[in-house]
Every structure is written in C-alpha cells, then in structure tokens.
C-alpha cells in the first residue's frame, strides 16, 4: 500500500492529535484542578449552554475514538464485558465504561472526573442508557433532554411546532437545574455570543465542505474526521473559529489551484456513519486505489445555522433535525444531494456493530439512491472502535470489487 504523500496532506490538520486533542485533555484536567465544573456530554446535547456557563465539556465519545486510535479500546471493551456488559453494545460505551474500571494508565490520564453529566435522547438509546450507568456508578447527577423523534424526517424549517416547544420548555427547565447545580447564572448575552460563535463555526465548516466539490477534491475523509473535532466538541468558541478559518483558507486555495488529495482522482465517494477510528489509514488505502472520499454524512450532521436573537429556538431546530433523530428519509435526501452536488461515483455505507441507528436502513438507502440516481453503494461491516470483528482482508476485498463495478460503470459498462 502506498502511503499518502505528506506534501499532499493539509497543513492545518497536521499533528492534529498532538496540537489540539492532547491539548484539549490537558486543559480539561487543568480546569478540573482549578475548580472549574466539568461535565461529561453526549453528542447532540446543546453544548453552547454549558460553554456560556463556563462549564468545561468533555466528550466520552471523543475519548472512545481517541482510545481506538491509540489501539487501547479493545482492552477497555473487554474490561466492560467482564463487568457484565454485552459485547453487542456500542463500542464507544464499552470503551468508556471499561475506562471507569481501568486501574492502569489511560490515554491522556483518562477524562477528568465529571461534576455532572448531560445527555439527550436525540441520537440514540445508547447515549442515555450509557450515561445513566455512569451516573449510578460515579454517583454524579445526570441531566437529560427528552427529544421527540423526527419521524417525518423534517429539516429545520419544517419541524412540528409541538416538538420545538417541548424542546424549548425542557431546555428552560434544564437551565434552571444547571444553574442550581453550578451556582452560575446563565447570562443571556453570553449565550448569544456563544450561539454566534457556534453559528460562525457551522458556516465555516459548511464552506469548507463546499470546496470539496472541486475536482480533484482538496480534502479527504481522514482530514475531515480529525477536523470535525471542533465542530463536535467546542463549536461555540473562538478557538474553533480560528482553526476553521485557517483550514478554510487552505482548502479554498487548494481548490482554486486544483491541488487534489491525490494526483489521479478516479473515484469520488461518499462515506456514511463513522470511520474505523482504529485504522484511519483505511482512507489512505482508498487513495492508493484512486478513490477519495469527498463527503461524509458525519460532516453534515453536526452543522446547523443558529440565530443569536432566538438562541433556544435555534438550538431546538438544530438538534431536532439532526439526522440521527430522523427517519431514514432525511439521510436519503442528504446522500442524494451529496451525490449530485459532489459528482459522486459511489457510496460506502459502513454499519456499526453496536449501533442500531447506523445499521438499520442502509439497505433502503442503497436501493433508493440506486433507483433514483443510478449510483451504487457498498455496505461494509465495520465497527467504530472494536476491531475484534473487523475482517480487514474481507473488507478490502469488498472495496476492490466495488471499485471495479464503479470502473465498469465509468466506461459505460
């Protein structure tokens, strides 16, 4: 396998782990030591609220992916299984549960102990069940948002009013509870400022994605899956804005100069769901075959424009329309748009062993998109963090056959 030539990788994301992720956990431990409240947060919780209350958010999901990248996740998963947790639950959850019992060294000294937990029912059952366990185990309070399921797959402009109202009322009650918990009053001006920064983060991220439409594409999934960290963890911060401004400039410049991820771009792909965090070089392997991921559904899940004059309502709209909370129609629409706008040849639909939300419905996506746009999909069995059931040889063989199919189609076969 030929490694991607270094000069073709983006400058902005070089040394991402060392420069940003490691730094983030160091700051988290420091904040904890200085008495700043630390919250463990499940994704799809409106973190802007916490940032506005000077709470330091730490993301167990991010921590699990980090453990996978450091190749310690399986050891932690096994530890969770030894405590009675099924091997079939989400490997993020297993990994973090395992880390609670691990007595030896952990990457980044583990996550700093939380003062409280926040989660929402928005993305999946696992989030709140997993956090419920952490809450019981660590004896720290858990605050939850109960989010209606978006069965119509409506986008942010077509949501049901009752859903928006239910979300906002709960958010108001939750803010009261958090104020009591932290003894900090949420200043509405500060919230508006965070909302503005979060919106700017989304705007920049969307712009970056736009440049990836260029042929050859200037940015690949490997960079995207690293860089999305800010979008996910701390969207309402100046740090996130600064990083994305730099990244955006670089991607823009490359797009204008037609400087692609690979010299000879043959296949343009969409990637759904999560990557195998334990083997991000998988994307380099794709590159070595002339294939490049030009868009990930994941990169379009976390954005959402926010209106600082209506902070709570725009948070409600952003999260209610997150496609993890929607019927499959919303994902199909998104993928179809990506296929058309990014001139995509094929779609990779990885399932995730411990995730019902990501695994069920991929056949519908495959059939619908093929029938409508004639673009084929490949369903791949991959887990995000647990490589025990990952059959690399089989997966690569399937990918090669798939690319042959795409090649045949390109030649009019």
């Amino acid at each position: 396998m030929t490694e991607l030539k270094l000069e073709r990788r983006l400058q902005a994301t070089r040394g991402f782990y060392r420069n940003f992720v490691k730094e983030f956990y160091r700051d988290a431990h420091k904040a904890k030591a200085e008495g700043t409240p630390v919250a463990w947060v499940a994704s799809t919780f409106p973190v802007e609220i916490l940032l506005a209350m000077d709470v330091f958010p730490v993301w167990p999901e991010n921590y699990a992916s980090l453990c996978a990248a450091k190749r310690v996740s399986v050891k932690l998963c096994e530890l969770a299984e030894s405590k009675g947790f099924s091997k079939d639950i989400c490997s993020y959850a297993k990994c973090v549960v395992g880390s609670l019992f691990e007595r030896g060294d952990l990457p980044e000294r583990g996550m700093p102990k939380p003062d409280f937990l926040v989660a929402s029912t928005c993305a999946c059952d696992t989030h709140f069940k997993w956090f419920q366990f952490i809450s019981r185990h660590l004896k720290v309070p858990l605050f939850l948002l109960d989010v209606p399921y978006n069965i119509l797959g409506a986008d942010s402009e077509h949501l049901e009013r009752t859903h928006i109202e239910f979300y906002i009322s709960q958010l108001e009650e939750l803010i009261d509870s958090l104020e009591k918990q932290t003894n900090v009053v949420l200043e509405r001006d500060k919230l508006r400022e965070k909302i503005m920064l979060s919106d700017r983060t989304s705007q920049l991220w969307e712009e970056i994605q736009k440049y990836r439409k260029t042929t050859p594409t200037p940015m690949d999934a490997r960079d995207a899956f690293s860089a999305v960290f800010f979008m996910l963890s701390i969207p309402g911060t100046q740090m996130a804005v600064n990083f994305y401004e730099k990244l955006c400039n670089e991607v823009k410049e490359r797009a204008e100069n037609k400087f692609g991820v690979i010299e000879n771009e043959i296949y343009r792909l969409v990637w759904d769901n999560l990557p195998p965090w334990f083997d991000l070089r998988f994307f380099n392997y794709l590159n070595s075959l002339g294939a490049v991921v030009v868009a990930e559904t994941f990169s379009h899940v976390w954005t959402g424009r926010l209106d600082p004059s209506k902070p709570l309502e725009s948070l409600a709209k952003k999260y209610l329309s997150n496609f993890a909370n929607c019927s499959i129609d919303r994902k199909i629409n998104l993928i179809q748009n990506l296929v058309e706008e990014f001139e995509v040849d094929g779609i990779i639909l990885p399932t995730n062993w411990g995730c019902r939300m990501m695994s069920i419905g991929e056949t519908i996506v495959k059939e619908t998109v093929y029938n409508k746009l004639g673009v084929p999909s490949l369903i791949l069995d991959i887990d995000s963090s647990d490589w025990r059931s990952y059959n690399e040889t089989q997966v690569k063989k399937n990918v090669e056959i798939f690319l042959q199919v795409l090649s045949g189609k390109k030649q009019g076969g």
């Binding site: 099924s86 696992t126 209606p148 399921y149 709960q170 019902r356 695994s359 069920i360 519908i364 069995d381």
Partner: protein, 372 residues
C-alpha cells in the same frame, strides 16, 4: 383443565379470529408497544391486536436487515412481509427504542398496509412530557377516527376504560394465584393468558378470566413445586423458554416484562376526563427500560420479587436490545443486593442455540436448589 386450552386456542387461532372480525365490516389495528393506548382503538369499534413474531425463519426480513438487529422486531417485520398480517387495516407503533424507530422505516418502505401511525412517546414523566404525550394521543385519536370512519365518543372511551380496567384487575387476580406455594398456575399458563389478552377482544377475554377464577380453586393437578423464580426482560411472545425453565425444576411465579406485569399493572383513573386519564396512565405506568426512570423500574422488579417470595431470578436479554443490555448488569446487582441468585441470559427470538441455554438454566436451578 380445559379453560387453559381456551387461552391457548385464542393464541393459535388469533389470525382467523381477526379475519372473522374483519368479515363483519370492522377494522383490525395492529400495535407493537405496550405504550399504545388500546382503549382508543377499542372505542373506535376496532380490534386491537399486538403484532407478535413467529418461530419461523426470517429470510424475508434478512434481505433488508443486518445481523445486529433486535430479533423480535425482525421476526414481526418478517411476518408482515410474509403476509401473516395482511388483514390489518393499520399498524401503530411508538418511539420506544432505536430498533422500533428504525424498523418502522422498513414497514413504511416494504410492507403494504393501508395505514401506519407513529406515536411519539416521551421518555420522561414530567408535566411537560405528560402534556406532550396528551397531544400525541389526541392526534392518534383523530387519525383513528379517520381510518375507522367513526367518531370516538366520550361514552365509548369510558366503556373501553371500564372493560380494560376489568381485564387488568382480573389478570392481577390470576397473577396472585402464583403467590401460593406451590402456585396454582404455572408460568407458562400465566404467559399464555397475558399473550392471549393482547390479541382478543377484551370483553371475551374477561369472560374467560372469570371462568378461570371460578374454576381454579378446584384444580386437581396444580403445577409441581419448584424453585420460585422471577423472570425479567422485554418482550416474550412465545412460551418456549418458560417451558424449558419449568421442565428443569423452575417455577415462574413473577415477571417484570412487557408481555406480563408491565402490560396490565396500572389502571386508568376512571373518575376524570377519559383521554387525559388514558394518556396519564400509559406514560406514567411502570416504566419500561427505554424510560428515564430506572429506579422506578428496578423498584417494581424488587417489589414483586419480595411479594412473591421468589428464590432466584433469570434476566432474559433479547439480543441487540440496547436498553435491556445496559440495564442487565445493573439489575443483576440490584437483585443480588436483596439476596437473590441471578442468571443473565442473552437469547435470540428464533430460539437458536437453545441446547446451551437449557444447560445453563438447568445448572442454575440445580445450584439454587442446592443452596437451600
């Protein structure tokens, strides 16, 4: 006793019974989660039936679903694809887990059915959640009125509440027959009774229950004395597993699953506005594991374990049922804290790998008997 075969017959002939009902020009509505307010369907003069899976192969569903999916939902979907439920005028489900939510997409895309309805069920029970759920139930009522072409009157709702509450009280009396030592009915019989109530017109079921309760004191062959067990889990829509348990010395005297006590334990308050009372009853009932109130759920399990003098517990975790997979180790701890030996078993709806399951149950029951 014959009466037990009557309940068994209701189960084995459920499809024919539903078709006969339909032949009278009436509607049959399938439901899949015990958070579906059946009273509304009953009040629309339609027959509510729970959609069960079957023990057959699921090859039709397997085309559309990956392996790592709840095998109960898979089996129900397979039955629908196969045409077992072609008589349904509609199917209603609830947002009660990822498997259900996502497989509802499958029903929408692949099952030919005139009407599909989705009830958004909150996972909390705050006043905000109750208000939201009431609005959802009102929406369901309007939608049922359209599909059944019938106005659901307050009087019809009150009648439905009455007949459903009667059924719940009768089922509770049946469950009390297992407080005795040895119990007057077996776990398998109790499960057949509850399952049959989920697919039968409640008036008819109430008649049978009254007959059972009248005849039972004279039962000549009560079940054998065995290790008194609590069984815990989500859905158990066939009796095969309990048959195994009771064939190796277990005596199932209590349960906390959806097709058992959690289905009928709570009554609808009959003194107030019927729709409000129905909505409050369903959202506020003993929580399933998808609800946020884990303490209340475990509290119910412990309470019935104590009330029924159980000696041990078996937790049946349906494979790929996330909420139960997370609860299982915690419930195990809670039950061990009150001194009960606990066995936790993962099972597939298709009952594959049963030989091993049987060996484990047998060893567990032997172990518990040895302790005494």
């Amino acid at each position: 006793m014959n009466i037990f075969s009557s309940f068994r017959d209701l189960l084995s002939t459920r499809h024919e019974v539903a078709k006969n009902w339909k032949a009278k020009g009436k509607h049959v509505i399938g439901w899949s989660c015990t958070y579906t307010p059946e009273e509304l369907i009953h009040a629309a003069d339609a027959l509510p039936v729970m959609v069960f899976g079957s023990l057959e192969s699921t090859k039709l569903a397997d085309v559309h679903l990956p392996i790592n999916v709840c095998s109960f939902s898979r089996s129900c979907f397979n039955s629908a694809l196969k045409g077992d439920y072609d008589y349904l005028d509609g199917f209603v489900t609830s947002s009660s887990c990822d498997n259900r939510n996502k497989i509802f997409d499958m029903w929408r895309y692949y099952v030919r059915i005139p009407y599909l309805h989705f009830i958004n069920t909150p996972r909390s029970t705050t006043e905000l959640a109750h208000d939201f759920f009431y609005a959802e139930i009102s929406r369901f009522k309007t939608s049922l009125e359209e599909i059944c072409r019938k106005t659901i009157s307050t009087a019809a709702l009150n009648r439905a509440i009455q007949v459903y509450n009667d059924n719940r009280l009768l089922l509770k009396r049946v469950y009390d027959l297992r407080k005795m030592q040895p119990p007057l009915i077996s776990g398998v019989e109790a499960l057949e009774i509850v399952l049959s109530s989920m697919v039968t017109l409640k008036e008819k079921h109430n008649d049978l229950l009254n007959r059972l309760l009248a005849e039972i004191p004279n039962r000549v062959n009560p079940p054998k004395r065995g290790v008194r067990l609590l069984v815990s889990g989500s859905v158990m829509d066939n009796t095969e597993l309990l048959k195994i348990v009771e064939s190796v010395g277990g005596s199932v005297v209590a349960d906390d699953w959806c097709t058992g006590s959690r289905y009928f334990w709570n009554l609808v308050d009959s003194g107030s506005d019927p729709l409000v009372a129905i909505a409050r009853r369903y959202l506020g009932k003993i929580p399933s594991s998808f609800m946020l109130e884990q303490k209340e759920r475990f509290g119910h399990t412990i309470k019935i374990a104590k009330q029924r003098d159980v000696e041990a517990a078996i937790i049946f975790v349906l494979k790929f049922c996330d909420t139960h997979m997370f609860d299982a180790p915690q419930l195990m701890e809670v039950l061990k804290d009150i001194g009960l030996p606990v066995l936790c078993l993962e099972w597939e709806h298709s009952l594959s790998g049963m030989a091993q399951v049987k060996t484990r149950i047998e060893a567990f029951i032997e172990m518990v008997s040895g302790v005494e």
